[in-house]
């Protein structure tokens, strides 16, 4: 009898703690602690705040309330997988693992569990190929797009000719950091520049040898694929050796305020790619202020609003919400499940007009996801740090990557994955 009562209490507690059955559930695998917390907090805040806005202003999506259960990963792969396992039973619609390591572990699990994974600007690049990666999406751009966009920007600066120029890549010595190497090598063959890859071991607090090498070799441009403390130290060391900062370009994970502020004036002129615009000059912030911030509902300490990584978290939530809307439309019901969410993601279309409606005019590129292409348009822009004003200045419009070079690489890598895992291509 006692056992029965205990079981009943346990079931009741579980039901009370979990989301209501009819809610749309978007788990947030956040990292508010550990060495990368400074990057994880703004993203998690932006992600949460946008869904809070939809709940407060619109009553959710399609009239169904949204829940964002948060699970702390501390950017640790094991904890990330634990978070996935512990939250997937709560009718999760889509996962944003926020780490390449966690992504690689979750891809086979999520495919098995039939829950879509969205790795926006990170993760396994070849999951662009929807024929092989049915449950994985990485729109609007990936690392190989990033490498190509950086080279295109350098081409623009040099009148379209960079033959004989020296381009170095300073990269985090991990799977993430190595992602652009093959693309940059292929682009070197095409454009005739001299390429050199310079690794930095985790975590990257000491980079003297690497920057002395750069000082000796005198490359014309330095690209960076870094994360965490590696970014701040690299920007400082570049300033120390008086490398021209306007010729130093980081990927979008090396382009937040966190990465440049510690170097002070020395960081002035440093460039970074981005997959969206940033700052608070968008009408959506009027609604966020009215329905979220002023009501005291902002996530975290509410001190990250408008930063690069806050904007990225918000953008991830916007794309998830838009895909859910599409899924509701396709399914003919507002109460969608993960499979229907996947269908919505695969039919997602973000137009310039829709971004205006969302209060985010020209915030991101217009793109369309298809069965074959889960990677979107592959566009990015270049921003530059103004140390005096303490803000990023957008230098270019959205630049498209070089499909001629990237598409064959994606096909090669994804086909190898399909062969290894006995996956029959779809979308026929």
């Amino acid at each position: 009898m006692k056992l029965t009562r205990l079981a009943a209490v346990a079931v009741a507690a579980t039901v009370a703690a979990g989301p209501a059955l009819a809610d749309l559930v978007f788990p947030s695998l956040s990292y508010r602690t550990g060495p990368y917390a400074a990057g994880g907090i703004p993203f998690a805040d932006g992600y949460k705040d946008y869904f809070t806005l939809l709940n407060e202003r619109d009553g959710g999506i399609g009239g169904v309330k949204i829940q964002v259960p948060e699970c702390e990963t501390a950017y640790n792969t094991e904890k990330g997988v634990e978070c996935y396992e512990s939250t997937k039973g709560g009718a999760a619609l889509v996962y944003q693992p926020l780490s390449t390591g966690i992504t690689y572990q979750i891809i086979p699990k999520a495919s098995q569990d039939k829950i879509p994974v969205h790795t926006m600007g990170y993760g396994r690049t070849s999951s662009v190929n929807g024929k092989v990666f049915e449950w994985v999406f990485n729109y609007p751009a990936n690392y190989w797009d990033g490498a190509s966009i950086a080279i295109k920007h350098i081409l623009d600066l040099n009148g379209g000719n960079i033959a004989g120029k020296k381009i170095a890549l300073v990269y985090h010595n991990s799977a993430y950091g190595k992602e652009p190497i093959r693309t940059l090598e292929e682009l070197a063959k095409k454009h005739g520049y001299e390429f050199k890859a310079i690794p930095v071991d985790h975590p990257g607090q000491e980079q003297k040898a690497q920057w002395l090498e750069i000082r000796r070799d005198r490359p014309d441009y330095v690209l960076m694929w870094g994360w965490g403390v590696m970014n701040q130290v690299a920007v400082q060391e570049a300033a120390n050796i008086r490398f021209p900062m306007e010729n130093f370009i980081g990927i979008w994970w090396s382009g937040s305020e966190n990465d440049v502020r510690p170097a002070g004036e020395g960081a002035h002129g440093y460039k970074a790619l981005n997959i969206h615009k940033t700052g608070m000059d968008f009408p959506i912030y009027d609604d966020l202020k009215k329905y979220v911030y002023d009501k005291g509902l902002a996530a975290g300490a509410g001190d990250q609003i408008g930063t690069v990584l806050y904007s990225r978290g918000m953008y991830a939530a916007v794309l998830a919400a838009e895909a859910a809307r599409k899924a509701q439309e396709l399914a003919g019901t507002p109460n969608i499940n993960a499979t229907q969410m996947r269908d919505g993601m695969e039919a997602l279309e973000i137009t310039a007009a829709r971004l205006v409606e969302l209060g985010l005019p020209e915030f991101g590129p217009a793109f369309k996801v298809t069965c074959e292409n889960h990677g979107g348009s592959g566009e990015g822009l270049v921003q530059q740090w103004d140390a005096k004003e303490g803000k990023w200045v957008i230098l270019t419009g959205f630049i498209a990557s070089d499909r001629e070079v990237i598409d064959p690489l994606i096909a090669e890598d994804s086909e190898a994955y399909a062969k290894e895992n006995n996956i029959a291509p779809r979308c026929n």
Binding site: A37, A38, K208
Partner: protein
């Protein structure tokens, strides 16, 4: 001379400077180990906590503001004033002394006569606690530390070496300052331990706890004192590394750089920490310069440990460590 020789010399010089920065962290470990036989796993977190507190004081940040705001619905962040750097350093030092007192009162006092491994485990717990406590107290964002230390290439050295050798050497001015500060710190610690009453008491405790107690030396006072000095060393290390990379969680990981230095120099020797730091710093830079390109680069981390392991095989107590002979 061929250009490669100049490159190697430049790498070696920069390695020596970096080694001094490693030695600054290692010094804190040595002080505590020497006086109490405890390997303080939390020394890196001490440096982080000290640097966070210093920036917090400088910026007039309200401690625990996020927690207060979350509980009371307020919007507190800053006091509205900035504290002069010297005063902020003094206040931070006072916080580190208080921390030393609390560590002794709440942790060490209860673990007297326990096995060294128990004390070591306690410092691991202390490290995790302080990491979280620091975040709650000052926030997890990356902070810029500016205590007026110079940074960037030294033009004077660049020009002087160029006029002498036709090749301008790169030396970071911050590294030069760190080298001077480390030298002063070592001299001050040596003078303190050799010529002051408390220094002699510290050495007595280090030699034999029981004998020191029998002549009336307060073990608890010595422990508070030595943890406070280690806190001061952590503050200096935190200032140097924090200026270099911003004050952030990763600052605590510099302790990992101090480990091979300690293994090489010995856990009980202050000069050993300095010499160990210099050998590791120069060795890793020269190895990266000469062998790095052949093995794909990024050799610094594993080379330091490999070198320390080689020393362990031939001289387990380190270069300057005391040889411990125990009766069976």
């Amino acid at each position: 001379m061929p250009e490669q020789v100049f490159f190697a010399l430049e790498a070696a010089a920069n390695g020596l400077m970096t080694g001094v920065l490693y030695a600054l962290v290692a010094l804190g470990f040595v002080l505590i180990f020497k006086a109490s036989g405890i390997f303080n796993f939390a020394q890196g977190v001490f440096a982080l906590f000290a640097a966070m507190t210093l920036v917090g004081f400088q910026n007039g940040q309200i401690p625990f503001a996020h927690l207060i705001n979350a509980i009371f619905g307020t919007s507190l962040h800053h006091f509205g004033w900035n504290m002069p750097t010297v005063l902020a350093i003094l206040c931070t030092m006072a916080v580190m002394v208080l921390l030393a007192f609390l560590v002794e009162r709440w942790v060490l006092k209860h673990l007297v006569n326990q096995e060294p491994i128990i004390l070591f485990m306690a410092t691991i717990g202390l490290a995790y606690f302080l990491e979280g406590f620091g975040d709650v107290m000052w926030g997890a964002d990356i902070k810029k530390l500016d205590v007026g230390l110079p940074q960037g290439m030294s033009s004077a050295i660049d020009e002087a070496t160029y006029s002498l050798f036709g090749y301008g050497f790169f030396i970071d001015r911050l590294d030069v300052v760190a080298a001077v500060v480390a030298a002063m710190l070592v001299v001050a610690l040596m003078l303190f331990s050799q010529f002051t009453k408390y220094g002699r008491a510290l050495r007595a405790v280090a030699d034999d706890h029981q004998a020191a107690l029998s002549v009336g030396i307060s073990l608890r006072f010595i422990w508070v004192m030595v943890w406070a000095i280690a806190g001061f060393v952590a503050l200096v290390a935190g200032m140097m590394w924090g200026t270099k990379m911003g004050v952030q969680f990763s600052l605590s990981l510099i302790a990992l750089k101090a480990l091979p230095v300690l293994m090489l120099g010995g856990f009980t020797s202050i000069p050993g920490a300095i010499v160990g730091g210099l050998i590791i710093g120069m060795g890793e830079q020269l190895f990266e310069f000469s062998v790095g390109p052949l093995v794909g680069g990024a050799t610094q981390n594993w080379f330091a440990y490999m070198l320390a392991l080689v020393f362990l095989v031939f001289r387990p107590q380190g270069l300057f460590g005391e040889k411990i002979i125990e009766r069976v």
